[in-house]
Subunit: 259 residues, 2 copies
Amino acid sequence: MNVLIVFAHPDPQSLNASLRDVAIEELMAQGHSVELSDLYAMDWKSPVDRADFAALDPDARLKVPAASGEAFAADALTADVKAEQKKLLWADVLIFQFPLWWFSMPAILKGWVDRVYAYGFAYGVGEHSDRRWGERYGEGRLAGKRAMLIVTAGGWEQHYAARGINGPIDDLLFPINHGILHYPGYDVLPPFVTYRVDRLDDAGFDLVATSLRERMRTLETTVPIPFRRQNGGDYLIPSLELRPELGAPGAKGFSLHRR
Amino acid sequence: MNVLIVFAHPDPQSLNASLRDVAIEELMAQGHSVELSDLYAMDWKSPVDRADFAALDPDARLKVPAASGEAFAADALTADVKAEQKKLLWADVLIFQFPLWWFSMPAILKGWVDRVYAYGFAYGVGEHSDRRWGERYGEGRLAGKRAMLIVTAGGWEQHYAARGINGPIDDLLFPINHGILHYPGYDVLPPFVTYRVDRLDDAGFDLVATSLRERMRTLETTVPIPFRRQNGGDYLIPSLELRPELGAPGAKGFSLHRR
């Protein structure tokens, strides 16, 4: 398989970098091809701005969805964005690896999503009508591929547990797993999360590395998070609310969107 | 009161910019003082990297919490970050205004959080012991102040409803409202969210502007989201899990953390 790792940590000596190298080594030992987008090493441009849309009239308003859609259709996106889109089409598996900063991804990785996920490429795909609301959430440009997160957190695992004060880790990662990965079609594997990473000693690292290798060996067989498909019959169209008869009685929140 | 608006849209002619100006005009008419951090206009640096920590030994590993804590303690953070921290201490109310991109804030605003929220300033504050896990979630450097989000979304309101396919807007914004605003102490007001903004005509804009003015007039009296305080007795220490007797029976997810 072809695997793309999009990596976002500023220090090449970091724990994240060591785990990345463990993952790459295991993937290559399994015969996979690996591409790495090391965003800090690439000096990735984070903000979406006018410079992304050279064809836009200087006097025109910058409406990001429209501008990115026009640039994508005209093959006029910037070279850095086009290169990443090409890697996404090449890869059978996409991995985002990052430290959890303020309960989300570092800015540089968010900027990768904001810029690479152009209209017409990752959203605004497919028929929009009374019967159909495009191809997203399980369908779309990247359907049939797999994705997963490799995340480190400084805090304790209990603080991210079902009743932990930060909120459950699966819910904190839902905007990424569901909103960024499932949206353009990926089947999303459960995330690989390591906690209290500032206290990790050599023995702890070895344990984490062993688990990560196992995850890299089972990319093809791990059961994805069972997110519902938008066009699989579970949602009313066009309101896209879950059908009243579905979901556990009284259930609320993100868990409704898992089968 | 003193109000700081941190604004993140690349186009000075955008709907977001128009709404920002409506908010500022109403705040000033009420006699408040307003500061604006217009991140695109300021060419705000998004990524956290070594350049943020000039005192760090070039051979040393960059551990972001430690490096930011040392730089904060030594008053050695960069001038742009120090200026924003000063504005936060000055402001009685903090407003983040942004378009919802991929169910979160634009990269440039995430980069503001990642860089301005230094260790010792916004986290790592207060006593950490067997009895106490620091001052956060309702306590901390910015306690006693209020904060709120002004957000625009391209999608339909139903898609963000309790059973909508994107997930409920309050849950999507929880990592920001709870994890970024309540964490260093803010009382967080309900967000002001406008949907389907690409279809907003003049009459629609007037309605939204009227509602926004009302919210700006009631900043001092609006009831905050009733997030639980970490050190108010609702959580076990040190696991920081919600006490078993609290929360509705069978309740799960982020809603547990509201009283």
